[in-house]
Amino acid sequence: VTRTIAAIAEAGDSALVAAFEERVDPAVNDLAVKLARRLHAARLDGIRDIVPAFHTVTVYFDPLVADRRELRAQLTVPLMSDAAVKPGAHHEILVRYEGEDLGEVARITGLSEQQIVEAHTAGTYRVFMLGFLPGFAYMGTLDPRIAVPRRTAPRTRVPAGAVAIAGQQTGIYPMESPGGWHLIGRTNVRPYDPDRDRPFMFSAGDTVRFAAE
């Protein structure tokens, strides 16, 4: 059992960053998600936002309302890195693997398109964090055989529902936007839908599997 305490950095007078070990690792991210949940549950005054990322939690607050000392105390509570966490939600996503960049990824990796699909559907991915666009989830970790760098020329228009990969990560574009990841498929799933009860499908700590439609 290891007890882990976050290091705290000031981000101006209205935010604090609690940082764990600086690496992309599900165990480290687990600590960030856990700390964010704890802080939500503490319901401190003056908190505007709590944002878990790969290895950090950024807390945004009203500097005239929040009690910084109390906040620091809450952020530096030791966490058990092996304790049973309430698992995140699990999602199964159906994908039509007919993305425009499938051929290019095959060329770069030396794999067949079928092998790329098999590699992408074999993994259970963790949602490390959301960012870039409303509902965009950074998921990992990709099979290293299909890890390819971003496109050298980003697209000005990537359609909503595009399933893409870059580096050791994969994700779904929630809306039409510019984008530099390689497009390998499409899904009907909408990570963000303002008319749904829960507008956002993914949260940090969730798990995701993809299946070929």
Binding site: A9, G12, V24, Y60, P63, L130, F132, G135
Partner: protein, 320 residues
Amino acid sequence: MSFIRVIRPGLQTTVQDAGRWGWQASGVSVAGAMDLCSLRVANALVGNDARAAALEVTLLGPELEFEDDRFVSMTGARFEVSLNGRPVQGPAVAVAAGSRLQFGTRRSGARAYLAIDGGLAVPEVLGSRATHVVSHLGGFAGRALTAGDRLPLGPASGRTASARHVPGLDVSIDPVAGMRGGHGYLRVLPGPHAEWFDSAAIAALAGVRYEVTSQSNRMGYRLEGPAIPWRRDAEVISSGTTIGALQVPRSGQPILLMSDRQTSGGYPIIATVIVADLCVAGQLAPGDSVEFAACTLDEALLAARAQEKSLLAVEREAQS
């Protein structure tokens, strides 16, 4: 319901409020007014709630036609404004049904706030009416205004213009008044990634002028000036971004993150502008210059408290 009609949209006129807080963990940018002080004063002057939505006018203002009688206020950047061709004096004016309000020459500052009694009644998205153009969220159809748009207004309070007292504004809540010739002076606190830089680099930030380049918008300002070197050479893992963060890409030319910033970023942040000086930051335009000075957390909180006190005083006075 009554509307205002957009005759000319101006360069970039958007619906903004105090921002869409609480959704950054889902990747939703905060957005909201770039100069929150001027937004709050504008709302106070027409008797609106501080959270009401107003128009943020950027560099080149719009021309608007009103369908009914409304009391309006204009704060922030100074423009010559006319009502049916006659110059408007002062920050607040009564507009009669059928009138046209026209923004003319800009005198100083980058962004003006036009608040209308009753507020702009565009639908709330995730608890806010702020426009985030990049993700097409909120505001009027998720975009800047275009000619022919009709913006819905909330019910007017019915109070008359003559009943309203326009209080004087001190410099802490009227950022444009404190800026000298397009120069912004911003106090910063070091961090959160101070260890990425030599202490000399942080000290060197003071007393140097950076220019706000043309590659600047509501997401952030790309600055040009002395390069800030990294002390270590490795990637920063993406993490939550804050408004006022001075992030330093490998080129060493810093970027000041503003209201429409993405929720996460992977560049080291050398220093962060204090809350009390964000309103000044919001009034900078391409071609302006900016200077940073380190301060302490106590100084930052003192300044934030003084600013809040002044804002509350204006809100109280405007109500009486």
